[in-house]
């Protein structure tokens, strides 16, 4: 059993080691996070000076929301499957198909390693963020619900990224679509502004899209805007999106891999 899994554990470990070699990027990502936390605090304080608690979201809640969203971004902003796109682009996917491994599992393991490394950066980032802003700490039960919802949101993001990178089987180039996805998840997913601030009808429409599963759902659980009696419904929607996107990703992967096998790399 271990022998069968060992290559994938190694892939994950090597991915972590690889990320660690880009030391400069590590420092800049922590540094830019500190700057963004500070700027968002300035903006929200200024906005709230003239308008106390829009939609019942208090200043300390919105600052907590923003800071936690930025920390989550350390993980959610990573395209864990970009390796697939790179490999399709330079044709090196061929070499992976010549090895006795499952290629999608390899990609998953590599992405997991990458995410674990960047996830570890949350600790120093959080320490720095706490120097700049106050972050509310919810009860253990709420935090547990948040963590679970965050994991579900991560899986939604994984499926979205994987599907997107599979498109490179046909087009080789996906950076435009990718940029769009980043904007859409940030704006419509509630990564920058809580969806609560949008007009009611629009808010309901986008809240049911998969993007909201990534940021909005876990964050609203964290600041208490989704109450425990709505957890099941909120996380049910997340699970629904994982299932749907998982099926789509599998279909697209199969078609893409078949294309390599039939048409050549």
């Amino acid at each position: 059993m271990f022998a069968a899994l060992e290559p994938y554990i190694q892939f994950a470990l090597k991915a972590m080691a690889r990320e660690a070699t880009y030391r400069f990027e590590v420092f800049t990502s922590i540094g830019s996070l500190a700057v963004r936390v500070y700027l968002l605090r300035v903006v929200w304080v200024a906005l709230y000076a003239h308008n106390a608690a829009p939609d019942g979201v208090l200043l300390h809640q919105i600052i907590t929301y923003s800071a936690v969203a930025l920390l989550m971004g350390l993980i959610l902003d990573i395209d864990q499957t970009s390796l697939l796109h790179d490999k399709l682009h330079d044709g090196s996917i061929v070499v992976d198909f010549m090895k006795p491994i499952s290629v999608p599992l390899y990609l998953f393991a590599d992405g997991t390693g990458e995410v674990l490394f960047h996830g570890a950066l949350i600790v120093p980032s959080l320490a720095i963020a706490l120097l700049i802003v106050h972050i509310d700490v919810p009860s253990a039960a709420v935090f547990g619900a948040f963590a679970l919802s965050f994991l579900l949101g991560y899986l939604v993001g994984f499926c979205l990224n994987f599907t997107l990178n599979c498109i490179a089987f046909w087009t080789l180039e996906i950076s435009a679509v990718q940029l769009m996805l980043t904007w859409v998840t940030d704006l419509l997913g509630g990564g920058i502004v809580p969806l609560l601030f949008f007009p009611a009808g629009f808010q309901q429409a986008i809240a049911s899209l998969p993007f909201a599963s990534m940021y909005s759902t876990p964050l609203l659980i964290y600041i208490g805007k989704i109450t425990p009696d709505h957890y099941l419904q909120a996380m049910g929607l997340q699970v629904f999106w994982i299932a749907v996107l998982g099926v789509i990703a599998t279909i697209i992967w199969r078609a893409g891999a078949r294309r390599v096998v039939v048409q050549g790399g």
Partner: protein, 336 residues
Amino acid sequence: MPIIETRDLRKSFRSVVRGEGLGGAVGALFSRRYEEKVAVENVNFSVEAGEVVGYIGPNGAGKSTTIKMLTGILVPTSGTIEVAGLVPYEKRRQNARNIGVVFGQRSQLYWDLPLRESFELLRAIYRVPRDRFRENLAHFVEILDLERFMATPVRQLSLGERMRGDFAAALLHDPKIVYLDEPTIGLDVVAKEAIRAFIADINKRLGTTVILTTHDLADVERLCRRIILIDEGTVIYDGRLERLRDEYGTHRTLVVHLKDPQPDFALPGVDVEHGEPPMVMLRFDRRTTTAEALIRRVTERYAITDVAIVEPEMEDIVRRIYLEGYQKPPARATEA
């Protein structure tokens, strides 16, 4: 029982037909016309365990397509393949354990990792027992002289160093067969020789079967007793290298240094090329005339200071076959 066997192998690709220019490119987005391109057709060959076979042909002849089918990443359009008792595309992962692959133009090492860690990763991938791994690695480090850059990330290696690393990587799991796709491309003379010596060594010591595709015929002459020549997707010659030389290398060149320059030097029935005066080169068919007879005819008319006989180069033979096609056997001395 051959280790590799292909029967009536055929692979064709469908590609989009595109009009010219921007209009054509935009048009192709909406309506697609496909055309079928045959990459290889009627490829039949079998290879015995322990052979070193040169698989050669001009660019686009179908060499890579064949190699990809042998590794199991391409499915043939029709025909059958068996490699070490397996159908590669049906048992891709199992087949992968039996083979090692080296691409001159593409590395299988992990770009960001030190060479040593790439090897460690390959040990896990191929599940090489640790003792065996240590033994093999120690051996490769020694004969490929890898020690100096084992801790260097692959992206910082020179091409020669990277290729040596790639060879070790392809052979760590003791594959029965290795496919080498232009393994000496871009290397300097010393590095080329080191790689050739390594290939000869593993073939001799471990009995590894080697399929070598290359454009450098010196590789072939040094390593392969047998070659398979492929052109426009079909095998046009399969046999010993010497036989090709015998059949095709029928022309030798007599290089004559004349005592005085002779701008209108001519000899009836002999193909003459003028070199740097006073040198002339006479091309002759060794089956219809001897060097001795030719020299006699020259000396009857001209005063000479020196002669030399030049054997045909493998390069020239193959170039002629690429240009003119292979006729089997050449009907007669075809005078240019």
